[in-house]
Symmetry: C2
Subunit: 343 residues, 2 copies
DNA sequence: AGAAAATAAGGTAACGTTATCATATAACGA
DNA sequence: TCGTTATATGATAACGTTACCTTATTTTCT
């Protein structure tokens, strides 16, 4: 039989009222209780294996549901997995539950999930949107759902939005290659016009310019998605033509970098002797692959922590001003880049 | 201002009672309603952007919380990520929320999470335990929490437990290598005594025996965890001594296989020309790595689907008998194995 | 036409908690 | 000793919803 133990059962067993039991569950500072009573109740709780029902607590009380929702474009993308991991760590410490939702780059799916999270009355939503509109977002906020955006902006709105400093990362990667003596640097940029990619690309072009190097449009590949498969395909095509136009490759994420490296190896060429390759994201596999990938690390943990904090401190003033915040990226040197001595 | 729209607001706006609104939210077959009324209510819901509160619904009604909990030993392990992915897909279709919890191979952390999920009154828990005891599990069941175990057993209990046929996978991998002409096959098995590993190892030894090959205990490495790092270390040690005692390597999971391959490459040797390597799990990176890894795929999606189904159909009879179920593994041939012509 | 059945909606209590108010006893200061 | 405050607990209503019961209107059948 399904035997649900409630606060009434505890009260009866301890010979007190439910109020007294409740006082133990929700300790406020200004409450008096005899030690003997406290002990009797505590014992009853233990003996009955009682656990308060968070639904009921949050429905009546002033606490929330102790749950947050994380909505990401792609759960299989290692970068988001690491974001989820960092966030889970924080949730664990705070004894929060984390509802993980993958929009799979579909806006309709994202909306279904946001709706679901709202019905579940989560204490907040952390969202990397694939195209939420201002109206929807404002609706959410009006209805009192704390929401924090990560990596991607919703134009015209005032929600706190947290970013890696993607521009900085683009600069770091490019400058590193230039310092190694590379002058002709291919950039595999993908076709998607999300802010993070635009910034990385801008970092690339600006840094070329700052170093007095020419910006060759033929060296900026803006097609397809930033996936392993696409990186492989792009590089394969390029190498089948000539492959002489560049000595280094800046990939806008690690996944494409992996695909690019695979195509290079298949062609019988070597990384880093023939081509230097640098990625972005520092996914866990970039330290494992062959050769280990030099890349730009995002401040994932810091972003996760601040997202959580923002939700917890959510007040009306969050609405008052646009709050874009950026955190520094970091160059991680491994073995996929080498000095350019020849060309 | 935080403006929570409730069923009362909808009722008021539509000019009906809350009962009538509720009837629309929870459609039972035997309910009558005038079309005009239905339409008025539906419109009010839309206009107010009303969304029912799942907490309240589940507290009063007969539905659950539409949430399940997934507890895994390691969220960063690609195998579990793919399990989570498969499960999320099912949850999405059913409009369930999924609380993702990583025990990080710590039993105390696992217990904290199970406790949290119980307080959240999830409709079920899907658990790959790192060492739950019978007593705890029986407690959960007594308290009416549907629970399904995956990959790992809790001895002496009667909970439905779902497995890949790890023994079969061990046989498939070993037989494949034998069919390629390998006679001396190293097995990197790790020290952990979990059922899945024991079964994989048994598949290995049984298949050797069935093919009339000697079982050389020196070729079974039972130390450390099944991680990339450890695989690398083990193979590096082995190669620094001699490396002549075997021509093929069966790794109990893909992660170690990746580490093993790295060590081989670092030694200037080649996979598959010098050593054939086969893994287990078919993690996404096994198709991306260099060379792409031949491996054994687990029926992850099937397991996820059945776990969910089991929870939904949870009845008292689930208690009546032990239900261990196994699903077939599958050999995935890629490029890390080759015929053994020389030794 | 009258009774029975079908249709359509409202009223109320309850789910498991806690906030708030009320009450009872004990301790204290004059 | 009495009034006042501190201590300790109980009673009740409410959170947002739905199950169940009740009531009012129609429709249908004889």
């Amino acid at each position: 039989m399904r035997e649900i133990v409630t606060i009434k059962d505890v009260a009866k067993r301890a010979g007190v009222s439910t109020s007294t039991v409740s006082r133990i569950l929700t300790p406020r500072n200004n409450t008096y209780m005899r030690d003997a009573t406290r002990e009797r109740v505590t014992r009853a709780i233990k003996e009955l294996d009682y656990r308060p029902d968070v639904r009921a607590q949050s429905l009546r009380g002033m606490i929330g549901t102790k749950t947050i929702g994380l909505v990401m474009p792609d759960t299989l993308n290692p970068y988001y997995q690491e974001l989820a991991y960092a966030l889970e760590e924080i949730c664990y410490k705070e004894r929060y539950g984390m509802l993980v939702c993958s929009s799979k780059n579909s806006i309709s799916r994202e909306l279904v999930y946001i709706d679901l999270l709202e019905r579940q009355k989560v204490d907040g939503i952390i969202l990397t949107t694939v195209g939420l509109h201002k109206a929807r977002l404002d609706g959410l906020i009006k209805r009192g759902i704390p929401i924090v955006l990560i990596d991607r902006d919703v134009p015209g709105t005032v929600v706190p939005t947290l970013f890696s400093n993607n521009y900085m990362g683009g600069c770091q990667a490019t400058q590193y290659l230039i310092d190694l003596g590379h002058k002709k640097i291919l950039c595999v940029a993908g076709s998607m016009n999300v802010l993070s990619n635009i910034d990385r690309l801008k970092g690339y072009t600006d840094t070329l310019g700052k170093n007095g190097l020419e910006i060759d449009k033929k060296l900026i590949i803006r097609k397809g998605k930033l996936t392993y498969k696409n990186g492989y395909k792009i590089m394969k095509d390029l190498l089948s033509k000539s492959g002489d136009e560049f000595t280094a490759i800046f990939c806008l994420n690690d996944l494409v970098a992996l695909g690019v490296m695979r195509a290079i190896h298949e062609k019988g060429k070597n990384v880093p002797s023939d081509y230097s390759v640098i990625g972005f994201d520092n996914i866990s596999f970039s330290s494992i692959c062959n050769p280990p990938l030099t890349t730009i690390a995002q401040p994932t943990r810091i972003i996760a922590l601040n997202a959580f904090k923002t939700i917890r401190k959510w007040k009306e003033q969050a609405l008052l001003k646009k709050k874009h915040r950026f955190w520094d990226t970091k160059l991680i040197v491994r073995e996929s880049c080498r000095e350019n001595r020849f060309r």
